[in-house]
């Protein structure tokens, strides 16, 4: 895990020294480049990591500000290491342990005060690039400045949700998460649920990832479970509710012994049966231990959950009983642990959301059930109601919206404001208190303060349709009439997965060609208006920005992207070409710079390769390398800071006296380039790399990127390339293989190869 943490620090652009015994660190560094999901965001990040070994390189610690220890979970080993590095450490540098099970007081027992003052626990979650939680635990001697420095660095540079935890076993997330898993495993066995059924309930319906609990154990590793269980049982007091959960599970023991340790082993509760050349997902029977085909659950309660959490836990079927059995125990347990493990309920909720990817934390879940209702039902079943829950039941919940934002219940019975880290600005916070400046079914415009307007997409998966385009145009008008700048941002999982191809398919199926023509024309007009607005338009994406979503960004004056942004023009996958100026912008962006080979072809070929292969960046840093983002565009590591950073960038552009760009004229080789690209397409077809409809689509793309019937001595305007884009789109949308690609994409989410 040490190498994963090092990678995330390098992703932030900060140099890291990775030390281990012998050549271990060197080998780990080599593995980083190949691991999936990728721990590194770019090739340049890898260069910031220097591998070394404890034997020879301790002196290098003299130049280091923060030392993170991630060695074996044994206090004697850790303490020996602390003593060993102490003489080499820079005075005042911070030392932290990535322990997940050992308390700080044990690690610091007998340690000199000089170490104790600089020491804390920083508990990362695996994999460190993708799991946002970092729990931080300070000791009685820890300097407050050290805690503040690490908190700020982890938040701003590493993009972490930093939660202050108390020095108690399992800290926050694992204390509750392990309880949840244990309770769920027991309840599934008691209520006779299959693995598939249990995960169908304990996943999306409660707001957890679809892996539920058994799928989660497969990812984490089954062999870890007994260790975690034993260490928690040993560390927790005799009367802790966790001690009452049985952990005797013979099937688990047998699976571990037989090497079924999860995804890293031969499989786990699920595995892929590859016999006969096919991949068949199978799940294990909790009764017989035999694998059989994994079947989707038919539990009614899973459907009922769409009406809310209470509908799920009150459902009469086994799924509903299971949900109640698990959630009632877990939520009551969580309510009993504040302030023992964390200062506030909101800290617990943050930790569970960031550490286990839950949509709602336990206290938010209680509010969704109704605190009063929940407390009453617990009482009616003879279960003790924790005092904090009783208080919430009496007061009407843990959280309440007010004019000043959301407030949370304090132990003294009053509601106190939730303080966000400075520099964070959440659109959801703004939305709770304001009404939109404009709104339709697909997008809204908000005033995010300081003269900046914000367009928010909120259609399904943030696909772009005529309503989204209309709202962009309206936002430009609103901004023009009295604001300084416009930001395009939303808090959806994805910025936008592209144009709504369902609409395009529908129109094509009934031959509404003018509608399709209009869809392209409207998109092109909106993109042009974004690009040439007299004030800066700043894109602030996170997650996927594909197709039309990418085209929006390409037309912004600047982009402030979340580090986890995945950008690409993927239109060819559904049998079309970018039609809202994407081809045009990539031609401009790939125009040779001072260091590139000169001449008319390199830019055309680079754009052709990127768009025809529908290449998507695996990070914002890579999007820069691929020129979807400009070198000057900003990257924000912490998603909660994205809107604030984008706003600041927009205002900076205003302060610098923003002027829209001058229209660009390109010199393209026309039929000559088309002939050269045609040769390349023929070659790919012969090699079997391009299928028959790929050849057709790539041919139309080549028509656009070569500049049409132009000649190298003639200038081609942006509008002319847009016309070519439209022509190519209108031709392709009339072909059956393109419509087939769209249909398959809509029904399966996967591209059709035809």
């Amino acid at each position: 895990m040490g190498s994963g943490i090092a990678a995330q620090i390098a992703n932030a652009g900060v140099p890291v020294l990775l030390l281990d015994k012998g050549d271990i660190a060197k080998a780990a560094l080599e593995r980083l480049g190949k691991a999936e999901p990728a721990p590194l965001m770019s090739r340049s990040a890898a260069k910031l990591i220097e591998a070394g070994n404890i034997e020879d390189d301790l002196a290098k610690l003299g130049g280091v500000d923060w030392i993170i220890e991630a060695v074996a979970e044994r206090p004697d080993i850790k303490q020996e290491l602390y003593r060993k590095i102490e003489p080499s450490r820079k005075p005042g540098s911070i030392l932290s342990s990535n322990t997940s099970t050992l308390p700080l007081k044990m690690l610091m027992a007998g340690m000199p005060t000089s170490i104790q003052r600089d020491f804390c626990i920083t508990h990362f979650f695996n994999p460190p690039r993708y799991m946002r939680l970092m729990e931080i635990v300070g000791g009685p001697e820890t300097k407050p400045e050290a805690m503040a420095a690490i908190t700020a660095f982890a938040d701003e540079k590493l993009g972490k949700v930093v939660v202050k935890a108390k020095d108690t076993p399992g800290f926050i997330a694992n204390r509750i998460g392990v309880f949840w898993i244990q309770a769920a495993v027991n309840a599934a066995r008691n209520l006779d649920l299959t693995v598939d059924e249990a995960d169908a309930v304990m996943g999306k319906p409660i707001g957890a990832p679809k892996t539920g609990v058994f799928g989660l154990m497969d990812i984490v590793g089954l062999d870890l479970q007994p260790h975690v269980d034993a260490s928690l049982r040993m560390a927790l007091s005799k009367d802790d509710a966790y001690q009452s959960l049985p952990s005797d599970f013979p099937l688990l023991t047998k699976m571990i012994t037989d090497g079924y340790t999860g995804r890293k082993g031969k499989g786990g509760f699920y595995h892929l049966n590859t016999a006969g050349g096919k991949k068949l997902k199978e799940s294990i029977s909790l009764k017989t231990g035999e694998y059989a085909a994994s079947t989707p659950s038919k539990l009614e309660s899973v459907d009922a959950a769409k009406a809310g959490l209470r509908a799920l836990v009150t459902h009469k079927d086994r799924g509903g009983q299971f949900a109640w059995a698990v959630l009632s125990k877990m939520l009551a347990y969580a309510a009993s642990l504040v302030p023992e493990i964390a200062d506030t309920a909101v800290d617990v909720d943050l930790a569970m959301k960031a550490g286990f990817n839950w949509k709602h934390g336990p206290f938010e879940m209680i509010d969704r059930l109704g605190a009063g209702w929940f407390a009453e039902r617990l009482a009616s079943e003879g279960v003790a109601v924790p005092p904090l829950l009783a208080l919430a039941a009496a007061k009407g919940g843990f959280y309440k919206p007010t004019h000043e934002g959301i407030v949370q219940l304090d132990a003294d019975g009053s509601y106190k404001p939730i303080t966000r880290q400075s520099g964070t600005l959440l659109l959801s916070d703004i939305k709770r208190l304001a009404t939109p400046l404009a709104r339709n079914g697909s997008a809204s415009v908000w005033d995010v303060g300081d003269g900046v307007a914000c367009v928010e997409f909120h259609s399904k998966m943030n696909t772009l349709d005529p309503d989204s385009l209309t709202m962009l145009m309206q936002a430009l008008e609103i901004a023009r009439r009295g604001m300084k700048a416009l930001v395009i941002h939303n808090e959806g999982e994805n910025f936008s997965v592209g144009a709504n191809i369902g609409l395009a398919l529908f129109a094509a199926n009934i031959g509404l060609w003018p509608t399709l023509d209009q869809l392209i024309a409207q998109g092109q007009a909106v993109m042009k208006a974004l690009k040439y607005a007299p004030f800066p338009v700043v894109g602030a994406p996170s997650g996927m920005a594909l197709g039309g979503g990418c085209e929006v960004l390409l037309h912004c004056a600047a982009v402030q992207a979340h580090a986890e942004t995945y950008v690409g023009l993927v239109e060819t996958g559904v049998g079309i070409v970018p039609g809202w100026g994407g081809c045009k912008e990539m031609l401009i962006r790939h125009s040779p710079g001072p260091r590139d080979p000169k001449g008319p072809m390199p830019g055309v070929m680079a754009a052709f390769e990127q768009i025809s292969l529908a290449k998507v960046s695996k990070s914002a840093a890579e999007a820069k390398e691929m020129k979807y983002l400009r070198r000057s565009d900003g990257i924000t590591m912490n998603r909660d800071r994205l809107l604030a950073d984008a706003k600041a960038l927009a205002l900076k552009l205003v302060a610098e006296g923003y002027k829209p760009p001058a229209p660009i004229e390109l010199h393209l080789p026309g039929p000559t380039a088309r002939a050269a690209l045609g040769l390349a397409i023929d070659g790919f077809a012969r090699q079997g790399l391009a299928l028959p409809h790929d050849v057709v689509v790539a041919g139309h793309l080549a028509d656009v990127l070569s500049g049409g019937a132009t000649d190298i001595v003639d200038a081609v305007s942006e509008d002319q390339i847009c016309d070519l884009e439209k022509g190519a789109f209108m031709s392709l949308i009339r072909t059956l293989p393109t419509l087939a690609r769209m249909e398959v994409m809509l029904s399966t989410g996967k591209p059709l190869r035809n």
Binding site: P597, G599, P600, P602, P671, T672, R674, L679, R686, Q687
Partner: protein, 375 residues
């Protein structure tokens, strides 16, 4: 008629393009090293040089402008000597030798450096700006046919099975590996800052490894990366002088240029080009193929090399004694000087009478040179 003789041959180590040890070396630096090397090794007075003729198949970028002139400066040749860049694609530096021989024959100079270079790392095949004529493509698509497809076409027409190609490739690697092990490249390779060792030879090339490769150019085809010469960085140079000059100055003669020829063929069958060119050259020399003792037949692809060998009825024991381009690599502009210089030095080393160097050329041509020993 003044006869031309070859009195010197050197080359750089050859390395895989992009991933090899010469990827960071400019083509002009590479060429300057071999030009300087062949001049100093032969002991010729540089002031007697008439011209530097430098072959290059994609003369642009760092190997652009009149790169020959720039290389002459870098190699420290006298400014009074001339320099011309010559392009006949893969036949470029063999053409340089032919041009020198022609000039010597008509008394237009006594001493020529005939070199060739290609950095396939730094200037891509097809160049940075491939701009084919749309009308010609329409009328004659084969004018721009890719080399891999020509290798498939030849394999099909001459029924060269994949296995036969792979056996040929394994043999080429084995011969080259053995020659390297026995130090037989030591006197021809000019050390570069990265070393003097070739980078493309695979001593462990095996039938099993080659059989596992996928077709590289046509999914239904029989030509793989293993039976194609690799993209290569490298340079080679020969010193070509009149026989009289060589004797007057006591330069060590490797071979006399007996006859030369070029011949065209259909572009989609370019690999068979050496057959017509060789027949012409033999006729001009008044020789039969059986008279030839040493043969350097360029291995652009195993399929075309085998097809040429069969058509010309070559004795395979005489062909590519120290391995061919499948193993050594094929830096396009440099190959002609390499195989002609190699044939000349083999003639000397093996103590034989006649040698042939021949190669195919993209676009549909062949080129051939016949050499004879000078007693």
């Amino acid at each position: 008629m003044n006869h031309a003789v070859i009195v010197g041959y050197v080359r750089s180590p050859f390395h895989f393009a992009t991933k090899g040890a010469l990827a960071r070396t400019r083509a002009d630096d590479l060429a300057a090293a071999v030009v300087k090397g062949v001049v100093s090794k032969s002991g010729i007075d540089p002031n007697d040089l008439e011209d530097l003729l430098l072959g290059c198949a994609f003369p642009e970028g760092e190997q652009g402008l009149n790169v020959a002139r720039l290389v002459s400066f870098m190699a420290g040749l006298p400014q009074a000597a001339g320099a011309a860049t010559i392009n006949r694609f893969c036949g470029s530096s063999m053409q340089a030798i032919h041009s020198a021989a022609g000039a010597i024959a008509m008394g237009a100079g006594d001493a020529f450096v005939c070199a060739g270079v290609e950095s396939m790392s730094r200037v891509p095949m097809m160049g940075f700006n491939p701009m084919p004529n749309p009308a010609l493509i329409e009328q004659m698509p084969a004018a721009y046919v890719s080399m891999g497809i020509t290798a498939e076409n030849v394999a099909k027409k001459y029924a060269i099975a994949r296995k036969a190609q792979e056996e040929f490739a394994v043999a080429s690697h084995a011969k080259a590996a053995r020659a390297r092990q026995q130090g037989k490249f030591a006197d021809e390779i000019i050390a570069m800052p990265m070393g003097a060792e070739d980078g493309c030879i695979r001593a462990d090339a095996s039938m099993q490894a080659l059989a596992s490769l996928k077709p590289a150019f046509d999914q239904a085809g029989v030509v793989t990366a293993g039976t194609s010469s690799p993209l290569t960085d490298g340079a080679a140079a020969c010193l070509v002088v009149s026989e009289k000059y060589a004797k007057d100055h006591k330069l060590p003669i490797l071979a006399r240029i007996k006859s030369v020829a070029v011949a065209g063929c259909s572009p989609e069958m370019m690999g068979i080009g050496p057959v017509a060119a060789t027949r012409k050259a033999l006729r001009r020399a008044g020789l039969k193929i059986g008279d030839i003792d040493i043969i350097e037949l360029n291995e652009a692809f195993a399929s075309q090399a085998i097809a040429c060998a069969r058509d010309l009825e070559l004795d395979m024991n005489k062909v590519n004694l120290d391995g061919g381009a499948l193993a050594l690599g094929h830096p396009l502009g440099a190959t002609g000087a390499r195989i002609t210089g190699k044939a000349a030095s083999l003639l000397k080393r093996e103590g034989k009478q006649f040698a042939l160097a021949t190669q195919c050329i993209g676009g549909g041509q062949g080129i051939a040179t016949i050499l004879e020993a000078v007693s």
